[in-house]
Symmetry: C2
Subunit: 214 residues, 2 copies
Amino acid sequence: MTDLTIIGTGNMARGLAARAVAAGRSVQLLAHEDRAKAEALATELGGTITPGVLGDQLTGAMVIPAVYFDASRAIAEQYGDALNGKVYVDITNPVDFATFDSLSVPADSSAAEELQKVTGAKVVKAFNTTFAATLTDGTVAGHPLDVLIAGDDADAIQAVAGFASAAGLNPVVVGPQRRARQLEHMGFLHILLSASDELPAYQWNSALKVIPAA
Amino acid sequence: MTDLTIIGTGNMARGLAARAVAAGRSVQLLAHEDRAKAEALATELGGTITPGVLGDQLTGAMVIPAVYFDASRAIAEQYGDALNGKVYVDITNPVDFATFDSLSVPADSSAAEELQKVTGAKVVKAFNTTFAATLTDGTVAGHPLDVLIAGDDADAIQAVAGFASAAGLNPVVVGPQRRARQLEHMGFLHILLSASDELPAYQWNSALKVIPAA
């Protein structure tokens, strides 16, 4: 067993795995197709990372697919009952990339809720408002990243918050799973700002944060 | 003529009028029913504020109803053609206060878009993610407030951005009017955090902000 299973070897997988190493958590890291990519990232990041490939038996009590929404849903369906009871962290922003103008999930739903329809895992929304590049360090301009968390299962929420906290981040439990609707609109807006040539101050290394009064 | 017309004498009207005074802008301040409330607030804030009451002829090229969504729509309908060509700033968060669980506008629309349906003014979304108490100073923990702005008319957007900038705030033009959908979900989430007894760090004096890399 490992603490976490992270699926993917892209930038978000790298950032999340880096935070896991910082938190002292053991990780199963599954490449989508090419085991060598997981092996290379495990070697690069150090810590306790066991590389593998999608389809391997899941060893993490918490599974974080660091992939796009459609791929995450396919993974949930692929593993089926093997996910029952696990924590399934939905980090996705289901942007309609054809138009870059809206979300691809129904307006009265969210990626997290759509994932919950196809899995017996406890789906928790988190890390969809933190960019990959910022997870590597965990801070932006000296501010720990806010990790906004929405879920319906108290233990699952606490598991995700505990991971964020151990990783040096600032977990903020915002409410039930359907609050993912708000979080996905926030993530989408943050993406739009970062993608805009007219807003050079906001790039993929910026952080969306709630600043408390001093 | 005045630079702005602010409608309302509540906390948001107070905050916005304080920023207008700081920016050196002249203000027509219309109380909803009680002219004396506008007179008292004008005296308190100083600057160039002309008090009045709802129904007075609008003297501001930019009209900012600092009221709830339903009241703002009623104001737009009341003034009718007198608003044509003016900038109408929608600061509202159309929260369903019966459930405190969703927005009251259709899921594929926004308060700004709903207002645009009933007015010939140029509706610009802005100031819905800045709390009243923070507008009084314009900063939170040393950070100038982000004013996220969405609209379809370039001149109207620039007018709102220019006001925010002159008031010492940080205007961020996020895109067309329909981006108000994202801004309203963000404002709603910020309200939920501030209203939560479990999150003492986030109160009505916090700021939602995009932090650029240092």
